[in-house]
């Protein structure tokens, strides 16, 4: 899958008008200088050679060097990736928490007013663009109430260089026991992760509700009910556990949405992650970095579906590979 995307991207990138060299040197660079630069970057070779060369590079986990900056693509990505993972991780937790519990509650109260309200919430929230949600939350909590920061990963008085090791700021601050910095990092995470979490929760509400409805109709639920186990325990323990497996599968598929949401959230909150990197380099037409970023996104999607399969087997002992 990664290979196919890579190939499509490579071909389309090279076939479209506008080349990085003129973008890099400005529109009025003399012909000779442009040619020289092209030669240097290997853009004059036949396309097939360029393509095979690139594939070989990727196999060696080398994404090449940025065409615009003197920097390895892998370095640039390694710098930005933790920020994106931190954001999506907390976004996912919020989504799961909100979505699964609301969905289960709605299924329990099927066809009652609470059910309708939650289903409407699911539809409405799904239709709110992530970036607008982010802007509105910024406006309300950042400007009007003035209680939460609206941009970046740290405040002006906290310097990442004092604790940065892995790039995951929460982990880093805990490692060096700098708890005021940890608080600052956490506060900066609240709005972006809630933005991401709220918007995606709509899908999970719907998924959980549908799965719970199926489960709640199963014989063992009726049996549990007959044995006199408390209703709440049946719904949130017995049923939810069983409904969780298909939800998990869907979660693997939703990672794509999560990534897309992260790109937009990063732009809105000036969050220095992969999405911003991709956009910045698109403006500069920095092919190797654009390709590298997309490969990493594809790798994330692919590896998450692998992880989901593994969790699947752990959660449900009936599944064996």
């Amino acid at each position: 899958m990664v290979l196919i995307l890579l190939s499509i991207l490579f071909v389309v990138l090279r076939l479209t008008p506008g080349d990085p060299v003129s973008a890099m040197l400005g529109g009025h660079a003399p012909e000779r200088v442009i040619e020289q630069k092209k030669e240097e970057l290997g853009l004059n070779r036949p396309m097939v050679i360029q393509y095979l060369d690139y594939l070989w590079q990727v196999c060696r986990l080398d994404l090449g060097e940025s065409m615009v900056f003197k920097q390895r693509v892998t370095t640039a990505i390694a710098e930005k990736l933790p920020a994106t993972i931190e954001l999506t991780f907390f976004g996912l937790i919020i989504t799961l928490f909100l979505g699964v519990f609301m969905g289960a509650y709605a299924a329990d109260r099927r066809r009652q007013i609470q059910d309708s309200a939650i289903r409407l919430y699911g539809i409405v929230v799904y239709c709110i663009p992530v970036y607008w949600m982010g802007l509105m939350l910024q406006l309300i909590f950042g400007i009007w109430l003035d209680i939460l920061p609206i941009a970046g990963r740290t405040g002006p008085r906290v310097f990442a260089s004092t604790f940065e090791k892995t790039g995951f700021y929460i982990l880093d601050t805990i490692l060096v026991r700098d708890f005021s910095a940890l608080g600052d990092v956490m506060i900066h995470l609240i709005l972006p992760s809630f933005t991401l979490g709220l918007v995606l929760s709509g899908i999970f509400v719907r998924l959980t509700r549908a799965n719970m409805l199926d489960v709640l109709r199963a014989d063992y639920i009726i049996a549990a009910e007959a044995r006199g186990i408390r209703h709440r325990k049946i719904v949130y323990k017995h049923a939810l556990k069983n409904a969780f497996i298909p939800i998990l599968t869907m979660m693997g598929l939703q990672v794509a949405l999560l990534m897309a949401g992260a790109v937009l959230t990063e732009t809105t909150f000036s969050w220095p992650g992969m999405g911003r990197l991709l956009l910045e380099r698109i403006y500069l037409r920095d092919y190797p970095t654009i390709q590298g970023t997309i490969i990493v996104f594809a790798l994330i999607v692919a590896s998450v579906s692998l992880i989901v399969d593994i969790i699947y087997a752990i959660v449900d002992p009936r599944i064996r590979y």
């Binding site: 899958m1 539809i123 663009p129 609206i150 956009l279 654009i290 997309i294």
Partner: protein, 286 residues
């Protein structure tokens, strides 16, 4: 009037919440379509007019939704902006459904190596984050209404392809297809007259939901500054511009364009949801 409403009410009794969802969705879409077709009737100013009054004026008075930093009327820009987003989203959905359906039909019907390759490509595009792909394509195609339509359309082709291919595979085994083949119908006739009509019904719902999604993707692309030249009035671009004035508290510049994107997407989603549940009565039990 009351009599005219009564069939609507009857349907409401029969289908419950789904019917109201469908109805509200349809009304929202209709309202915005009318707005897009007759912008002059709704907008008091030209959307490019930079002499409508003071800059950054809060909503109220002759400026329903205030003015922006270039003295332009926000409400008028929203009215004219509806044209851009509607045109792009619907055209993109038509383009992708057309290519997705025809590729799915051919692939499912012919099978073999072609089917294998197409499925592989479609599956890899399908699992990849749509927006990121659209960003990449929009960046490569460069700005322009048609280019952005294309970028949005590309990411939805696999959705139709997978749906149609799966159905074609099962329909192709039906008895009536075999009967048609035995009386000597050509492959094209079988595809067009026997399989296509059975496939098209399910794609209607997908199409509606697809438009809703395309609206959000289109606005996202223009919000990110990819896609359209500044001479075109667009909600996503207005939102991106309004973002600069957020720290200084000019809330109306982001609130209204964003709300419109949500409402329009909501309209199509509700229509699609309602349609899905009414066309598929088995789901009604839930």
């Amino acid at each position: 009037m009351a009599r005219g409403l009564s069939p609507l009410m009857r349907m409401g009794k029969k289908y419950g919440l789904e019917w109201w969802i469908l109805l509200i969705g349809a009304v929202i879409i209709l309202a915005i379509i009318i707005m897009a077709i007759f912008p002059g009737a709704f907008a008091p100013f030209n959307p490019h007019d930079q002499n409508t009054g003071p800059q950054l004026l809060p909503p109220g008075g002759s400026h329903l939704m205030g003015t922006d930093n270039l003295h332009r009327d926000v409400w008028s820009r929203i009215v004219y902006g509806s044209q851009t987003i509607m045109r792009i989203a619907i055209l993109a959905a038509i383009l992708s459904s057309f290519s997705g359906i025809s590729l799915g039909l051919i692939s499912g019907f012919s099978g073999g190596i072609l089917d294998r390759i197409l499925s592989l490509i479609m599956d890899s595009v399908y699992v990849f984050p749509g927006l990121i792909l659209a960003i990449a394509f929009a960046a490569m195609f460069g700005p322009g209404v048609f280019n952005i339509t294309l970028a949005v359309a590309v990411i939805y082709i696999p959705t139709y392809f997978r749906l149609v291919r799966g159905q074609t595979l099962s329909i192709k085994e039906e008895l009536y297809v075999e009967a048609a083949r035995s009386i000597g119908a050509s492959s094209f006739t079988i595809l067009w007259k026997y399989i296509f009509p059975n496939v098209i019904a399910t794609t209607v719902v997908v199409f509606t939901l697809n438009v809703a999604d395309a609206i959000m993707i289109e606005a996202a692309l223009t919000y990110l500054g990819l896609g359209l030249p500044p001479s075109i009035v667009d909600w996503g671009m207005d939102l991106a511009m309004g973002k600069k004035f957020l720290p200084s508290g000019q809330w109306w510049l982001i609130t209204f364009p964003g709300a419109m994107i949500s409402i329009l997407a909501l309209g199509f989603t509700m229509l699609g949801e309602g349609l899905a549940e009414i066309l598929n009565p088995r789901l009604l039990e839930r």
